[in-house]
């Protein structure tokens, strides 16, 4: 399996034109699934407190660096809290505290020499409600590259915007109206726009917090297709309420309940042969 970091570096260096990119993607696509992947995140005893109240209890979990990892569980189980640990978005909540260790490629992302600003450039995020900026479609996608200085010239920026929109499957729908406000798009398009916005800064990981919960079934199907394509290039963590969605898009699934990580395994195992009674109850619809 090609190391995601290498692919990432390659992408950055070949921003203008990447003749090898196709090959890279092909190699990743043809690579054998999950078994041989490396670990992207190692979580050791992760706990999150809001104003001293524990929302997440001693989570230990390894997130593979390819494929989609789904976080499921009933409302208030801590899955969204856990997702926001990976890009340190919990830092923005007053009185939130994270303990334990989260290693990204072996490096503690909560250590003092990690700047959350750079971490978030490496770990992108898509939210529950589509939140395009009240700017043009172009400016939405260009915002990340601009603040990180990824595009020294207008041409480079145009390139990144087009590439990101293509990758997010939105280019054909918006290429003639890049100057129109991002908020004028439909909900599904908006969600793909914010995905394009996230991948424009070339992250290694994309976190998705119930990305389809505000979308209709057709837009959801389109989004799931997109997630399927994106997983070839990015490590994806997705929080979802829909077990069917988790089953469709993910290779690994973690089940959370009342702040505990109850069970974490291959998606197929979780849905066909759960080990814990609580998981069993949840996926069969008896709780949750």
């Amino acid at each position: 399996m090609v190391n995601m970091n290498a692919a990432h570096t390659k992408y950055i260096s070949d921003l203008g034109l990447t003749p090898n990119m196709g090959e890279v993607i092909e190699m990743m696509a043809s690579a054998p699934a999950a078994e041989t992947t490396q670990v992207k995140f190692e979580c050791r005893d992760v706990e999150v407190f809001y104003s001293g109240k524990r929302a997440l209890r001693g989570v230990n979990m390894d997130v593979p660096d390819s494929g989609v990892t789904a976080l499921i569980g009933p409302s208030g189980c801590g899955k969204s809290t856990f997702l926001r640990v990976f890009n340190r978005m919990n830092d923005t909540i007053p009185n939130a505290r994270v303990t334990g260790q989260i290693l990204m490629d072996g490096q503690d992302i909560y250590s003092k020499d990690i700047d959350p600003v750079l971490l978030r450039a490496r770990v992108g995020m898509v939210f529950q409600k589509p939140n395009p900026f009240p700017k043009s479609i172009y400016d939405n996608v260009a915002y990340g590259p601009r603040i990180h200085g990824l595009a020294p010239q207008k041409k480079d920026l145009d390139n990144i915007v087009e590439r990101s929109l293509v990758r997010a499957g939105l280019w054909d729908e918006v290429k003639d109206r890049l100057k129109e406000p991002g908020t004028s798009l439909s909900g599904g398009q908006q969600q793909r726009l914010v995905i394009a916005r996230a991948i424009a800064v070339s992250p290694e990981v994309i976190l998705m917090d119930e990305p389809a919960s505000a979308l209709d079934p057709i837009a959801t199907a389109r989004l799931e297709e997109l997630i399927d394509e994106l997983k070839e290039k990015y490590c994806i963590l997705i929080v979802t309420h829909s077990m069917a969605q988790a089953a469709r898009v993910s290779q690994k699934t973690a089940f959370f309940h009342l702040g505990d990580l109850v069970e974490y395994d291959d998606t197929q195992t979780i849905f066909t042969n759960p080990k814990d009674q609580r998981t069993q109850d949840y996926i069969t619809g008896r709780t949750g």
């Binding site: 923005t92 007053p94 978030r120």
Partner: protein, 433 residues
């Protein structure tokens, strides 16, 4: 189905009675609301009608056309056309003689004095003086000019002085009325738009007084207030809302800002007097000081409006920016402040409108002075529109009341314009996306 099942508890007579009661209650509430609106509108209408009713006549003024002889022997006995001589010559006599020749049958001293009183004494003489000073060639010629009538004659012609009242209760004598009727009959008396009201500064004579000095003073003070309070207010609000740590000190500051918004404005005037005039020694009556005082007074309004505008920005936008690796400062200045701009602007304009109508603090720093010149800089003595109204409404003559009302109309129009601009900008900025 049994019979019981058909009569639900919501279909019984009691239920219908309760429904009627509920509806009656709601209707009573609605009528109370309508009544409140009607009363409010009636009061507002009353205010406007009474203001416009007394004020609109100030926009017109009566002028008398007279023929004056600029004889060389009176104005320039030496024939040198010396500027000083021309300026100090006796133009009063010129006007008087023009009137005496118009009414040759007036020969007695008292009659002559009364005759001169039908024109604006200083208005007419200054007008001729200006003309001669600018064009000395006029000396020795006979010219026809239009001069303002005195305020009493103007009021008489506007119908504010009752001709049938006993002569000793009137400011215009029977003979004066007779002369006025003669010039009216002769077509020498005209009614024109009162441009002077908009181009002149204050004067001792109502017929010569205008609001230009006060308007310029107000605009200068307002500009100073705007330049002081908007940057400082918005900056303070952004810092307090986004960057300041939450501790006792910031809580204390916050409480005090809210309290300052409720402090009577005259207190700010006292502060200006103590600090700006007495301590820093800035000039009295200057728009600079007035503006600084008004700026301090508006500061809490702008801070509060800005903070609530910032708070109203959806946090999801900020989350989006942060998740892309924007720093907190970038998220605030790239997204939060621009999205709050319409609210900030509305708050600032409303604060400015408030400052424009403020009188009390200006009284304390001497902007209540009688200033007959339009100020040329923010350091010169000036008045302000509301202060001018206050001064005029304090004067006894009927003509001042008319002018005070007219000035109030102008002030209200300016305020309505400011508020309309605020509403326009808000809807414009909000509609952008």
């Amino acid at each position: 189905m049994s019979a019981e099942a058909n009569t639900s508890i919501h279909q019984t007579d009691q239920a219908l009675g309760r429904l009627a009661k509920r509806k009656a209650k709601e209707n009573r509430f609605r009528y109370a609301g309508i009544a409140a609106v009607v009363i409010a509108m009636a009061m507002l209408g009353w205010l406007v009608v009474s203001l416009v009713g007394t004020g609109y006549t100030a926009f017109f003024q009566h002028y008398l056309t007279i023929t004056v002889t600029l004889s060389e022997s009176d104005l320039d006995p030496h024939g040198a056309r010396d500027a000083d001589q021309l300026r100090t010559a006796n133009y009063r006599k010129v006007i008087q003689q023009a009137l005496y020749s118009r009414f040759p049958d007036v020969t007695d001293r008292r009659g002559k004095r009364a005759l001169f009183q039908i024109v604006s004494a200083s208005g007419a003489t200054n007008q001729v003086r200006q003309m001669v000073y600018q064009d000395p060639d006029l000396v020795g010629r006979e010219i026809t000019i239009t001069v303002p009538t005195s305020d009493d004659v103007d009021q008489l012609l506007k119908g504010y002085i009752d001709r049938n009242a006993p002569a000793e209760l009137r400011k215009v004598s029977d003979r004066q009325i007779e002369w006025v009727d003669q010039v009216v009959a002769g077509g020498e008396l005209t009614r024109e738009f009162n441009w002077r009201f908009f181009t002149a500064a204050d004067s001792r004579d109502p017929e010569l007084a205008g609001i230009a000095g006060a308007v310029v003073g107000s605009l200068m003070a307002l500009s100073v207030a705007f330049m002081l309070s908007v940057p400082v207010g918005v900056g303070a609000a952004v810092y307090l809302e986004e960057f300041a740590p939450h501790n006792r000190l910031t809580d204390f500051i916050e409480i005090n800002i809210n309290n300052l918004a409720a402090v009577p404005s005259i207190v700010f005037g006292l502060l200006g007097l103590a600090v700006f005039l007495n301590f820093f020694g800035l000039p009295r009556s200057a728009p600079l000081v007035g503006g600084m005082v008004l700026g301090l007074m508006t500061l809490p309004t702008i801070i509060i409006a800005t903070r609530s505008a910032l708070r109203a920005v959806s946090p999801s936008i900020i989350d989006g920016a942060l998740s892309l690796g924007a720093s907190h400062t970038q998220a605030v200045f790239h997204h939060k402040v621009p999205l709050a701009a319409s609210g900030i602007l509305t708050g600032s304009i409303i604060g400015m409108a408030q400052a424009l109508g403020e009188t009390a603090p200006l009284l304390m720093i001497g902007m209540v002075a009688f200033v007959t010149e339009i100020p040329a800089s923010i350091m010169e003595p000036a008045s302000a529109l509301p202060v001018q109204i206050f001064l005029w409404s304090d004067s006894a003559e009927r003509a001042w009341a008319e002018r005070a009302s007219a000035a109030i109309i102008v002030l209200l129009l300016v305020l309505i314009t400011l508020n309309a601009v605020a509403i326009f900008l808000r809807s414009r900025l909000e509609r952008r996306w």
